[in-house]
Amino acid sequence: MSHPLAVGVGSPHGDDRAGWLVIERLHELGVSKADARIVQSPTELCHLGSPQRPLLVCDAGRSDAAAGIIDVCTWPAQSLPVCRGGTHDVSLGDALSLSLHLGAIPSTVAIWIINGRDFRPLSEPSRAVIIAAAQLADHLWSEWHHA
């Protein structure tokens, strides 16, 4: 396995698309759709991952930081960035805990959060988020290819 399974969580609503944009950029860079997945609900992690394969999750967040600012943490050693509100039926933290108990994900997961500002239904993502998502995807791609 050359690189982790990458999962982008989100929806088609404005900056909530951030995680999907990262994955779409990875697809453009040549990562297969089996290795970089787009999901709407973090509970999908229960069905996608495996304990043997490294996992990274990209999601949108809403905090006091400016749109496009990227946070990263290693779950569960580091707690997830604090976000105001959420669009998931089950929170990312709960979904990760559940998936870990079900033996569906490895014991540590890299979480990348792109801060957004505009989450209006069906709106376009902001330019700052589009740029940040592309930069993050390029960074991940480069990391995997220089590892």
């Binding site: 929806s11 709407q40 609900s41 509970t43 999908e44 559940l98 108990h101 079900l102 033996g103």
Partner: protein, 433 residues
Amino acid sequence: MSDEETIEVPILTRVEGEGALTIRLRNGQLDDVQLRIYEPPRLFETLLQGRPLEDAPDITARICGICPVAYQMSSIHALENALGVIVSPQIRHLRRLLYCGEWIESHALHVHLLHAPDFFDAASGMELARRFPDEMRRGLRLKKHGNELVAAIGGRAIHPVNVAVGGFHRWPPRDELRRLIPDFEWGLQAACEATRWVAGFAYPDFQSDAEFVALSLTGEYAMNEGEIASSRHPSIAVKEYRRHFVERQVAHSTALQGGRTPDHSPYLLGPLSRINLNFEHLLPQARRLATEIGFSVPCRNPFRAAIARCLEVVHAYEDALRILLSLDFSGPCRHAYQPELSVGRAATEAPRGTLFHEYEIDARGKIVRAVIVPPTSQNQTQIEADLRARLHQQLTAGTLRETLAVDAERLVRSYDPCISCATHFLQVRWEDA
């Protein structure tokens, strides 16, 4: 001097929404029990006034993230009743398929993550997942199927957007629906296995004297239409609903409480009532499975609603497969209509029970008045009645105080209350100075 004692469950866990429970004892005997709903009212009925009738399905869907389809189905059927629209069999089948998706996702979620932990003294679904990973993984997969079916028809899994008064905005992509068939064939068998697992739980011994109420339809397990049937009274037409069932405000709850006229007597809605009243209309695998696991009707133990929920999941898979295997999108996906001053009513079977909507519309197609009576607000009175009976039973048996609260909370959870649904209303009293 009397000896008073209050047992508080300040936050009911593993229910949709926010509520609490207060148990008051006097001289060791039950004095009062209150299901306290403190979630703030959410204004939906007032919000609809003056808006185009076409807004109702999508606005009312926002009442609940678990059962948005139920709100869409009740609202469109009530509005079509007002407009005199009769939809084609193709539209009717697709609506039933959509509802199957919601029943599957809602029931699978409740059974596995919210209710099952109670039978293993587990604090949460997370803890249960550690002990029963295969069963929980299976349950989550069932939920996922339900979500995928709703998304394939409705455009998205939560708050779907394709439902319209008169039909659907468009026929869903046939290939996307057909692609679900192998998963649903697996899911039907997995749902049977889940039912066998749930049937093996150790259920507390408790019998409710509830009146069971649910929609009932000749030749079919009712979802989108039917008469309102009862275990005690003759069936009534949906248009008569408000003559027989009313809501009232009580001081301890922000949700209105339902009761039957004239004395506000409690009644029970939901899977247990549906299965008790409509058992013969379950599809063959669900009915055979009920016999295999020894589930007979009438079942009066509310804790065993978990089994009824599972059997309804099996039924919903069978029904969904039947429709998926014979998709017919011939004819228009939406019927035209001409608004006129009128009133329409409909009730459909939400996962938690009968959901009634009534709309008055004007000649321009604007909503003049909306009445929405969700199942949880109707069930509250019965939940409190059952809590009283259960607590009395346990106090007589000398049950420890700390056990009383835990058991009472579990009883509340067995009804799968959706508190957020129940607090959708706003009663405004205008006072002129």
